[in-house]
Subunit: 199 residues, 2 copies
């Protein structure tokens, strides 16, 4: 790409390495950077560097946080006897946005995937078992409804049930507002299986 | 967003300011940054900073380049009497990728848009007129086929034709491989108007 300046080519290359950014978006971003003010560019690079340097795992739930204990684990308003297990911090944030869940979380940072060679020891599972030695009422498994998420859910359930702790799994079914005709048949069958009595 | 670390929230905010990046992509990028190695993060921020600091306009054609004169303006193999006028460096790169154009370019860095308050003095138009004082055979106007691009093309043509220089406009029509049934009627009419005799 010698029709671009070498600095721009390098920047496009760096941007293309990020997830979900193809070569066209990378070029668009690179040219946007050139047109930004010096302060804006400094704010962006500063935010990248300080996020990388200062973010760590919460000692309790392993979400990404600035402090030793995340605000959720620190909060006295949360029910510390109910743990929701999620694959990553974005999934935690999705449930926090609902504003209706008042338990705590456990972030696995991945899911078991024999295909990708990710086993139970590659995710924060030992750390979950360690937490269950405390006084816990329920573990809600909220891994994704994918092959890896389901595998992880089954694995966790088999591991935890013998400990006498209640293990639940979030429901699979038709998304609210979803149009049946556009929904895949596996989801439709799951929704049928999981049907509930109308009140 | 207090369920994210403040450093992550800040980074998500910075990423969301970039063009084409919504809040979900920004979060995805931010978490990707946290998982990147320190060297990879340094390479990214370094590329951003050095592109911002080192890239400037070519003295001749105003494309973004590392040196005073861009490789195209410096090249003796190019036809310096034919100037293609484009809106930005990405459009220049698109024509360079064809490998079939051997003239030089002039990058306007925008298009006339009364709607956005961008007038002829806000783009590199005076600089184009200045270049035309030299020995120029043809100006090929390759601004976009949008309202702004067409406005700019008409404006340039009215400005340059009195100087006795040939001004041409790239053809509008059906893209190669395009399926007529999916093409808008304005394009179909343009293609009809611009029809050429078959040999």
């Amino acid at each position: 790409m010698d029709y671009y300046s070498s600095h721009i080519s390098k920047l496009i290359e760096e941007f293309s390495r990020l997830p979900g950014i193809g070569s066209k978006s990378a070029a668009r971003l690179a040219f946007h950077i050139i047109n930004m003010s010096g302060e804006q560019v400094a704010a962006l690079t500063g935010a990248i560097t300080s996020a990388k340097e200062n973010v760590r795992y919460c000692r309790e739930c392993y979400t990404l946080t600035d402090e030793e204990l995340c605000p959720i684990c620190r909060s006295a308003k949360r029910d510390h006897k109910t743990i929701m297990v999620v694959e990553n911090t974005r999934d935690l944030a999705a449930y926090e946005k609902t504003g209706q869940y008042d338990g705590v979380y456990h972030v696995l940072h991945g899911a078991i995937s024999p295909m990708l060679g990710i086993g139970p020891n590659d995710i924060k599972l030992k750390e979950l078992i360690e937490r269950l030695k405390g006084d816990i009422d329920e573990v809600i498994v909220s891994t994704n409804s994918s092959l890896e998420g389901e595998t992880t859910a089954v694995y966790i359930s088999k591991l935890i049930r013998p400990m006498g702790i209640k293990v639940t799994r979030i429901a699979s079914g038709v998304p609210v507002g979803g149009d049946l005709e556009y929904i895949d048949s596996v989801t439709l069958l799951k929704a049928l299986e999981g049907r509930v009595l109308m009140k």
